[in-house]
Amino acid sequence: MIKIENLSKTYEDGTKALHNINLTVPDGQFLVIIGLSGSGKSTLLRCINGLIKPTSGQVLVDGENITTASTAQLRKIRLKIGMIFQQFNLVRRSSVMTNVLTGRLGYKSSMSSLFHRFNQEDYTLAMRNLERVGIVQKATARADQLSGGQQQRVGIARALMQNPRYMLADEPVASLDPATSHSVMKYLEQINKEDGITVLCNLHFLSLARRYATRVIALRNDGEGGEIVFDGGALEIDERKFREIYGEDAVEVEIGPRDGKVAPDRTLAPL
């Protein structure tokens, strides 16, 4: 369980990113966080695994306080929190295999990893995770030879190497086309359902949120830092809620239905 209490973040340059966030995420949820750019979604995720130190408030992961943890403790907590990113953040010059294996570093000592010592178990695990995301045949390719969707799947495999209980996904499909977006989201859904990994996912696409989320929260930043303006089921977001989250001028636009079967893929576009 992730418990966020009175969390606020103001950056050194004075930008107010988050204001007094209170949020509890029970295990097993697929939580989607929506909101405009700059509403503090990314900051919120990074406060959860300690990549960003909050200005005030605290984050408890399974009862352990991230904000007061020592460096060693923090690394231990991070082990159970996987993360994937909008830009995939793979080491582009390294092989897919090496990228996936880095997900195992938290279990290794400095000395053994300095000389690239992963054991056979790690390799077996890496192949297993690559197979889960369907790119086992790309294991020896260089990461920059893969398409965007494939790179994001490598990112998921890397996170799975940690054997995580939680998965943070920061705009995982914002750089992908709609079809690939769905395939990546499906892998997230799969690890959520099959492995019981709690997913916290930032999204731009409301349609994707409606399709995959078991719970949606919306952040809105009116200058004092992002605040939660909506918390509920995905289907509860009606026209009025939508305008509340995205502002009066926003409209939802429709793009063509996918595979001719799903409901119209409604994507947010600014006016």
Partner: protein, 436 residues
């Protein structure tokens, strides 16, 4: 014919008239805008004029010496690479008498198998084996004047010289100014004969023979024989260029070992943003900046004075020089890497050393290799200059050739440097293309 742009002369109907908008005039020339600009212009002109005088700028001298320049430059372009053994036929013509009575010309006749001189590689002179037929010349050399005064023109006639071969006429004085000077050239015809004008040196000291020894004219022919072989200069230069490459290699290697750790400390994105991190970062930057502000040439002078002239002094100075540059290159390359993978690997629970091993180093390697190869290349070039002041290597040899006005030999050294730099550039391009 002027082009009329209608958009200027005509206005679109219904748009605001130009007079309704504020008018912005095009600016006047910069030097007319204010008295400050005018004063600045005067100061600049005055500085240029003063500079012209202080730096002793002398274009006519350059024009006048242009021929000399081109001939030296031509020598540089014609390096001394191959050589041939040479034979020399040198015929002396004594010019007897002192200033009073005036020097006189006697006829020199040599009608015996004369001993020619064979110049071997490197200028060793060996008398030719006796009885070699090619060495027999029945030579007659005459000059037409009854007496010789400074600056006078002599007609020099020769017979029995080696046919179709160039030669020079040299004035050897034995007077108060003992020296030799070329005063003319000739080319023997098909019968080995020639007749040329030569001018006696226009210097009384060199024409007067104070000790009653005769001055001499020499008619000298040189010709090559035998096989071409690589010149001694080439051997020397190759040895020294090899030394230069190794000096640069050692300096670059030492510099890598020292500057690599410093550069990680001098990379803002790797150092924690707390007091200790910032202090270490600032300290590392300062070390790099200070060592970079000292020129390799000055370092070489200091090290040569400390450890003696030679390659070691060169290595030491180039090392310091390369540490500064590499440290800066490396740290900036590290700062410019994509922070995404760092964040991602940090998020997996990896520690700082692991993040560096898996996120920083793979991204840094292409630039590391590129910069290091460039530094080696630059060290080779710098070591030639460092050699000028005693740092060993090719520069040491080059400066000697230049001081002795041996421009053919200097050309060999310069060409060798150019060839090495080109090869290294090509090789590093190939290597970089492979790793990026």
């Amino acid at each position: 014919m002027a082009v009329i742009d209608e958009s200027v002369t005509k206005q679109k109907p219904g748009s605001m008239p130009d007079s309704a908008r504020p008018v912005i005039k095009p600016p006047r020339p910069v030097f007319l805008r204010s008295w400050v600009a005018l004063v600045a212009l005067i100061v600049i002109v005055a500085a240029e004029i003063t500079g012209w005088q202080v730096a002793e700028i002398n274009p006519p001298l350059l024009v006048q010496k242009w021929g000399e320049f081109t001939s030296r430059f031509g020598e540089l372009l014609a390096p001394d690479i191959v050589a041939q053994d040479q034979k020399q036929l040198q015929v002396p013509l004594p010019i007897v008498g002192a200033d009073k009575p005036p020097a006189q010309v006697k006829e020199a006749t040599v009608q015996a198998p004369i001993t020619t001189i064979i110049k071997k590689a490197g200028g060793n002179e060996n008398p030719a084996a006796p009885g070699t037929t090619e060495n027999v010349f029945n030579v007659t050399l005459t000059a037409d004047a009854g007496q010789v005064v400074a600056g006078q023109t002599l007609t020099v006639t020769g017979k029995g010289f080696r046919p179709n071969t160039d030669g020079v006429i040299i004035w050897q004085s034995t007077g108060t100014n003992t020296s030799s000077q070329q005063i003319g050239t000739f080319k023997a015809d098909g019968n080995g004969e020639f007749k040329v004008q030569a001018q006696v040196p226009n210097d009384k000291d060199r024409v007067t023979n104070a000790y009653n020894y005769p001055n001499s004219l020499y008619a000298t022919q040189n010709w090559s024989f035998g096989n071409l072989y690589f010149s001694d200069t080439l051997g020397l230069v190759l040895g020294k260029i090899l030394e230069t490459i190794f000096i640069a290699l050692m300096a670059t290697s030492f510099a890598i070992v020292i500057s690599l750790p410093i550069s990680f400390l001098a990379a803002r994105n790797l150092m924690p943003r707390n007091f200790i991190g910032t202090t270490i970062y600032t300290l590392a930057r300062t070390v790099l900046n200070i060592s970079r502000s000292i020129e390799a040439l000055i370092l070489a002078v200091i090290f040569a004075a400390t450890v003696g002239l030679g390659p070691f002094a060169g290595v030491l100075s180039l090392t310091v020089y390369a540490i500064a540059s590499l440290g800066k290159f490396y740290s900036e390359a590290i700062e410019s890497i994509d922070p995404g993978p760092l964040e991602a690997i940090t998020a997996t629970g990896a520690n700082r050393l692991q993040v560096i091993t898996y996120a920083v180093i793979p991204q840094f390697i292409p630039q590391f290799i590129g910069f290091t190869l460039y530094m080696w290349d630059r060290s080779v070039r710098a070591s030639t200059i460092v050699g000028f002041v005693g740092g060993g290597g090719i520069g040491f040899l080059l400066v000697q050739y230049i001081n002795l006005l041996q421009f053919h030999q200097a050309g060999t050294a310069i060409w060798a440097i150019a060839v090495v730099v080109i090869i290294m550039d090509w090789a590093s391009a190939r290597i970089r293309a492979r790793v990026i």
